[in-house]
Every structure is written in structure tokens, then in C-alpha cells.
Symmetry: C2
Subunit: 372 residues, 2 copies
DNA sequence: AGTTCTGATGTAATCGTTTACATGGCCGCA
DNA sequence: TGCGGCCATGTAAACGATTACATCAGAACT
């Protein structure tokens, strides 16, 4: 019945606390009412300096820590935030998470993580989770609202708590969006490739129906157009942002009738997987084919060759989302949309195209001398 | 005062709920007492089938979700678990996290994450967190107990809640440990290198005072000894498991008077960073120098060359830790220590040493033909 | 038939806060 | 001096569940 019995000896400072320290104990010791103790903590300016000092002293003496359950029960606030994401083990998200955690921590909020893992069952569970009032707000990285019933796509979740969409905008929902301009970034990369002389630029896509993917694909086409290149559907290879899909795309690419001189992968994972395949197929990057990525994950800089990519400020994205949510939670006005800057990071995996049909692989080295 | 006002229209199923559905509402609808409703949920066998059916129906009709704060206040259980880790953005941890989350979810527990980020301030905060009873238990990935006061190393945290140490054993604490045999694994890799003919094997360490590091270092020395090789302190390069430290170690390595023929890096991140540096220094892997890693992260297989490493079953480690903690929380007996198997994954970054002093780099290719 | 036990249910106390409302003292203004 | 207002504080009613204890009906045994 009472498992904590044996360990309930006097704790630190010689103050023996029979059990848990309650606000009453503090009140008694400070010779004030519980209301004053509560106020001294929540809104110090509403308590006289002397009373406050006594309360603080009593708290220090007893080691009092407010009981969150009781606090939450009464005040309807949990100081907890739910973060929903599709895949916790993905490098891309974990860096963002860190940004989120930082800000939340500063503001005194805890972070509960839900790895959706593609399971609708989990979605339902976490919809209930929010409904039960276990969290004050949520940050959604999964690109859609969960708990959407019959109405399918169109029906936003009515949780009644503040929500923020991070990275993947949620079109039908009227909630703040924190994101980058995926379209502009993709367009820029495409134009970068084109400006180096590439005329045949393949594209490795993200998962279908993904908002990110739609935007990036639009950017790709825009970039082609802006560079006066024709869009060729045959050069669009399916992917899903994973290393494995990059490897697959590499195989598909190598099997293409006329191999393009450049590939734009919409994630670094795919780019790295793809380079790997290309390399083992005997193609060299960037001499035979240029490869570009997206995200600038840690490994992009140490890939071989180092990956040219688009940097997303992941930590900052997380921080911004958390900041907006906190504003919302605390009733402050907050921007409806934040777009953070991306950056084109030029490394070694992209180079001007070289005429590889004319010579066997070995002699290419001489051609490579050309640039000055 | 009441922000939810405007959105409080009838919800689903046409059942209009003025505000939140309470257990009383369910009780009234099912024509039983609140106690029966509570029991129907917590211990169905203690309620008659008819009553249970009525309760369940009423719950379905009203969409009742128990209020966690109230439940927690009364029952002293939160159904929340704290996971403490040193760096959330690290690939290695995030895969483990996923394993943890899976198991916790199945058992109905939520996961709160604390990214320690090397900040003692945060440790204090989370010590208070557990003390306040916000979680029922914790999984520690950080290798020590927080909240250790004056006594320094030796004083285990007295939180009064079940704890489990994952990966990094906590020597002074009497809590279950889930881990791999780091020492045996490191020894095995060292012997693997030696068995290929390497006589001079460098070691890139983890952070000092880290338990993992200590074990792996012991394994390294053991492996050397078992292979009849002498330990040379000059071949131990400092690292901290990060890519950056691997890059640094690569520079130090290249600067060494007599370059070893093999390097054992105690993390894949370091191995990949190190290979990168080596490559740009003009050394080839594995022809000039073999590189081995530890962990088998996703990128190990697609590194160039593909990394020979030790596979840690990360997801399983997370699952096992969660399972043990759940046992503990539910009063079941649980193992005091679980050691999961590692696996030596042989890829391309390790090869027998080749005599590189006799010939200039170019002609090495002929030597490389040797293997049949 | 009387007693005891068991199983299903209800009643109401309890968990530890926050906070609406009441109180009382003090200041300043007329 | 009297009165409105403000400030600091106290009192006590929530918040919404769990659960110890009481109750009661019926079964089973002597």
C-alpha cells in the first residue's frame, strides 16, 4: 500500500519531511496563508516584500516543489507541449527538436514527443492526448492535423489548444506556419546547376502528396523554366527522403537511357545514398555527374565528395516555432507565418558538366584540368 | 477569462457538451456511480458485465476522456516517463529514442524528453522535475545521475522513482543497466584489425571520464594484448564522438611521425569525419590506412568507403530499457542487467595493410591487385 | 433457518493547488 | 472627520478523478 515508507527518512538539511512538502507546510512555516504562498510564486508583485521573503525562505527550507498535477487540475494549464513528428530517428528532425526544446525549456515548458511512425492508431491516440488536456499546445511537424474524422483532408482538428505547424505547412488549417521557402530554394538550386552549364537535370522527389515535395517540385520546374530548360518527366525519379530511396534512385538513374549531367536530390540523405550508388556503378561525382542535396545535415559536409546543398536553419526553425507557440500560450500576439532564410552551400559534389562521351574514364583527368 | 467560449458549440455525434465531459456525466448517463465508472475502466473484472457495457456505451456517447491531472493528483501516477540524454540531435540517440517511444506507447506511457546539452542548470531543473512527481520513472542515457549534490560522483539521486540506465552504466547507482558489452566489442574490432596484419593501430577516444570510453579503451588494450601488440600511448587520439572531433583526429593522425596503418574510431561520426580529412590529405582508405568505426549508424553503410564498424542494436536497446522500466513501474520483477549483442560489420574501409613506403602513391594500384 | 462469505455497487473523503470573494487597514481627498 | 479606493491578505470553494469504507443482496454452508 505504501511503498515509499522505508525511504521516508529525514532528507537533506536535517529537515525531516514526513512525506511530501505541501503548500500548507510552507504557509505554516512562513506564517501566511496558502493563497499568499501561491501568489508569491505566481505573481510576486501582488505580495508584500516581507511576506515574499518569508515565503521564499520557507520554500528553501522545506524544499517545496509545487505539485504539477494539482496545479494543472485547478488552473487547466500543464506547461507541457506536444511535438508531433513523422520520424524521430531522422537527423533532420532531431536537430529541429533541439531548437524546440531549448526555447520551451527557457519558458518553463516541458516537451512531450510523439513519433507518429506512420501509424493512424498513434494519431488517434495523440488526438485524444491533446483532447484530454495533457498539453497546453502542440507543434506539428507532420504536415497534417490528426484526428481528422470523416471529412478527410479538409477537416482541421478541433483540439481547442494552440497549434503551430513547423516546416510542413498545413493548408487547410488556420494556424501559424514556420517554414522555409522550399519553392524558392529548389528553384535556386536548379538555377545554380543550370548556370554551371547543365542542360539535363534530374530530380529525385520526396514522397508523393507531401507538401514539401510539392513546393520543391514547383521550385524545380520554375528553376528549369527560368534557365530556359525544358521539363522532362523522365528525369523525375521517385524518392521519400531516406537513404534507401536515394540508393534506389541512383540505380534508376544509372539505368536511364541518357544519363543527365546533374541530379537534384530533395534531401541530403537521398543525395548521399545516390552518390554511393553512382560511385559503385563506376561513375564519378562531380566529374561524370553532379549531385545536389537539400537540408545541409551534418554529414553533408563530410560526404565524399562534400555535398552541395541548401542549408535549412533547423535549430532556428525549432526555436521559432517554440517561440510562436509560447506567445500563443501566453496570449501575446504572434506572427501568422515565419519564413526563415535558406542558404545555397556550394561544396564539391557539383561542377560544370564535362563531355564524357568522347573519352574513356581515365583520360577525363586531363579534361578536369580545364577550369582556371 | 474564458477563451474556449466561442468554440464550445456541439461537437461530434450531435451530443452537445457544454464543456468538458466529466466522469459524473458518464455516471449519470450510465445510471451508475462515479466509482463504478472508474472501476469499469481501471479494473473491468470488478464490475458486472451489464454495468460495464452501459458505462462503455456512455463513454462512447459522450466522448469522455479521463482528466489526467485529476487522475494523477489522486493516484500519484502520471503515466509519463522522462528520458534524459546528452544530445538530442545526435543520430545515435534518436534511433534509441524511437525504440523507447515504441514500447512506452504500447504500455500507455508518454515520453518527456530532456536534452541535457551539457548544462548543469538543466540537470537541476530535471531533478526537480522528477522530484515534483511529474513522471513515474526515468531512463537515463547520460551516464550519471543528476541532482547529485555535495558528494559528487558517489551520491546517487534520491528521486524515489524507478530509474533505468541505458547504454552508459552508472557505476555508483543500484539501478538496472541496459547496455552492450563495449569492452568485448572494442576488443573484437581491435583483434579484427590485428588479424588482418595491422601492427600499428591508432585509437580515437571518446570524451574523457565517459564510461563508454573507459570500457572501449579497455577493450582496445585488451585486443592489442590478445594480438600480441604493444600499446603505444602516442597512438591514442582524443575525440568526443562528434564529426568535428573526427576531423581533428584526422589532422593529428596525418601529423604523426609514423602513421599507423589502421585507426579504430570509437564512433562512426568520428570515423566518417576522419576519413574525410584523410582523403583530403591525399591518403586513401583503406589502401593507405584502414578506418573502423563504432555504432553502425545509417550513414556508415553509405560512407565512401563503406565503413567497417560495430553494430549496436539501437532500437532494441531503447525497447529493452523501456520494457524494464515498465516492469519496474508495474511492480513486476525485472532483470538487473541486460546486455544486447553487438555485431562486427565488415565493409570496405578496412583492409590488410599495404607497404606504402616503397612506392609512390600511383603505383600502389598494382599492389592493390594482389588479393584474389 | 441462521450464519458467513463473496461480489457488485454506492458514498464521500481525499489528492494539493489556484483563485473568486471577503476582509480589514491605510491613505488621500473633500 | 468621513468616505471611496486600493492593497495585502485570508477563507474556502472549486478542479475531476481514485479509492477506503460501508452497504446490501444473494449464494453457500452448517
Amino acid at each position: 500500500m505504501d511503498e515509499r515508507g522505508p525511504s521516508s527518512r529525514p532528507d537533506e538539511d536535517g529537515v525531516s519531511l514526513g512525506r511530501t512538502v505541501r503548500i500548507q507546510d510552507v504557509a505554516k512555516l512562513a506564517d501566511v496563508s496558502t493563497a499568499t504562498v501561491s501568489r508569491a510564486l505566481a505573481s510576486p508583485e501582488r505580495v508584500s516584500p516581507e511576506a515574499r521573503a518569508r515565503v521564499l525562505e520557507a520554500i528553501a527550507k522545506t524544499g517545496y516543489v509545487p505539485n504539477p498535477a494539482a496545479r494543472s487540475l485547478r488552473s487547466q494549464k500543464t506547461y507541457m507541449v506536444l511535438v508531433v513528428l513523422p520520424d524521430l530517428s531522422n537527423t533532420f528532425f532531431s536537430k529541429i527538436l533541439r531548437g524546440i526544446e531549448e526555447r520551451l525549456f527557457e519558458a518553463g515548458y516541458g516537451m512531450i514527443i510523439s513519433d507518429l511512425d506512420g501509424s493512424p492508431e498513434k494519431e488517434a491516440h495523440f488526438a485524444a492526448f491533446t483532447a484530454a488536456g495533457r498539453v497546453d499546445g502542440a507543434i506539428l511537424l507532420n504536415g497534417h492535423l490528426f484526428g481528422q474524422s470523416r471529412d478527410g483532408e479538409g477537416m482541421p482538428m478541433k483540439t481547442g489548444i494552440p497549434l503551430v505547424a513547423l516546416c510542413e505547412a498545413i493548408p487547410s488549417a488556420d494556424i501559424p506556419q514556420i517554414e522555409i521557402d522550399n519553392r524558392a530554394a529548389a528553384s535556386r538550386m536548379t538555377q545554380h546547376l543550370a548556370s554551371l552549364g547543365h542542360r539535363s537535370i534530374a530530380y529525385v522527389s520526396g514522397p508523393p502528396n507531401n507538401i514539401l515535395e510539392r513546393e520543391r517540385f514547383l521550385g524545380y520546374r520554375e528553376g528549369l523554366e527560368a534557365s530556359g530548360l525544358r521539363f522532362d518527366p523522365a528525369l523525375v525519379l521517385p524518392g521519400d527522403y531516406t537513404i534507401a530511396s536515394g540508393i534506389m534512385a541512383g540505380q534508376n538513374l544509372a539505368a536511364l537511357a541518357t544519363c543527365p549531367t546533374a541530379v537534384f536530390c530533395t534531401s541530403d540523405e537521398m543525395a548521399i545514398g545516390l552518390m554511393r550508388t553512382l560511385l559503385s556503378e563506376g561513375l564519378r561525382v562531380p566529374e561524370d555527374i553532379s549531385v545536389a542535396g537539400f537540408d545541409d545535415i551534418e554529414f553533408a559536409a563530410v560526404a565524399e565528395p562534400a555535398l552541395t546543398t541548401i542549408r535549412q536553419p533547423r535549430r532556428e526553425l525549432g526555436q521559432a516555432a517554440a517561440a510562436v507557440l509560447i506567445d500563443l500560450l501566453q496570449g501575446r500576439p504572434s506572427p501568422k507565418r515565419i519564413r526563415l532564410e535558406t542558404e545555397l552551400v556550394v561544396r564539391d559534389s557539383v561542377a560544370p558538366p564535362q563531355n564524357r562521351e568522347k573519352a574513356p574514364a581515365k583520360s577525363i583527368r586531363t579534361i578536369a584540368m580545364k577550369p582556371t
